[in-house]
């Protein structure tokens, strides 16, 4: 399973890199879709169907909206001149990557084996969630009962985003 996840993660990285460098914006958007749908397969392999359903639906809707927006534009990325002092940023980026990987390796060595839970809280949820909430789907039990505040926050974030979009995209009100 780890081999499959590694291959899919590699594909996602290639898709993300292609999305940055594509001249046509439509192919860049579709390359972004590779990242999203690869994540769906990763979630399914890691046995998280709830997250996979949410991710596949949201990814599809986002892709539709972004394709509609790109088809309305000129579809071409504007040509940017290469920065003459660009080598400094490259050197900085490589240094940063090396330092990050070093410390990430140190941190990962002290963790448990991949897939084993490190939280004591998880065992309590797994054992008692069905009795406490009466819900057969443990994810819903945790999301709406034990962690109800988080869900309320997510819903409020969505409402705030809609209010912001309605405020910005208002031509008649501005006149």
């Amino acid at each position: 399973m780890e081999v499959a996840i590694s291959i899919i993660t590699g594909l996602m990285i290639i898709g993300a890199l292609y999305a940055i460098h594509a001249k046509d914006l439509l192919s860049a958007v579709i390359a972004c879709g590779i990242v999203g749908y690869g994540l769906v397969i990763c979630f399914l392999l890691l046995k998280a169907p709830d997250l996979a359903i949410v991710q596949i639906v949201v990814e599809t809707i986002t892709l539709i909206i972004m394709v509609a927006v790109v088809l309305d534009s000129s579809r071409e990325e504007r040509y940017l001149k290469p920065d003459p002092q660009g080598y400094m940023s490259i050197v900085t980026a490589v240094l940063l990557i090396v330092v990050l990987f070093y410390f990430f390796r140190l941190a990962a060595a002290s963790l448990d084996v991949f897939g084993n839970s490190t939280l004591r809280m998880a065992d309590a949820y797994l054992e008692r969630a069905t009795d406490r909430t009466g819900s057969a789907n443990l994810v819903t039990g945790v999301v709406f009962d034990f962690r109800g505040y988080d869900t309320l926050g997510e819903a409020t974030v969505l409402v705030t985003a809609v209010l912001g979009i309605l405020t910005i995209l208002r031509i008649k009100g501005k006149k």
Binding site: P49, D50, A52, I53, V54, V57, V58, T60, I61, I64, I65, A68, V69, D72, T130, R132, T133, G134, S135, A136, N137, V139, T140, G141, V143, F144, D145, G148, Y149, T151, L152, E154, A155, T156, L158, V159, A161, V162, I165, L166, L169, I171, K172
Partner: protein, 142 residues
């Protein structure tokens, strides 16, 4: 769009809507829930608008309606979470309805209610965002 796209949309849009309702109502039994089902429900409307154009069923006029449903649904969720306080507890999100047996459709107390209203909220939010973009484009063209 062509006739093929329109006919397929006519056949599929209703089923997509029903599937969204199924995912929401069975959220406490099977994978899914309010967020996923709400986005599926919004997807059926987006499918109709994309296939039949923005003036289909005067859907673009419904922006104020979907905003109203969205705000009402989040208000109901807040009231449901506060309703435990009236029952004598000191915490939000008290599951004070009877639990029933796990695995049946009517069980788990308040969780199906949260799922339904969060589903309405998510569906109308996504639809409002899409309608706002469509209306913005139409107003810019004028």
């Amino acid at each position: 769009m062509t006739v093929i796209v329109k006919k397929t949309t006519q056949l599929i849009a209703g089923m997509v809507f029903l599937y969204g309702i199924y995912v929401i109502i069975h959220g406490h039994l099977t994978p899914g829930g309010g967020f996923a089902g709400g986005v599926v429900m919004a997807g059926s409307f987006i499918l109709l608008i994309l296939a039949f154009g923005s003036d289909f069923m005067h859907l673009t006029k419904e922006e104020s309606g979907s905003t109203l449903y969205e705000n009402l649904a989040i208000l109901v969720v807040v009231f449901l979470s506060v309703s435990g306080l009236l029952y004598g507890a000191r915490i939000f999100f008290l599951n004070w309805l009877p639990k029933g047996t796990a695995g049946e459709l009517v069980s788990a107390g308040m969780l199906p209610l949260y799922n339904i209203f969060v589903g309405i909220e998510v569906a109308s939010s996504i639809l409002t965002i899409f309608l706002a973009l469509v209306i913005f484009k139409e107003e810019t063209l004028e």
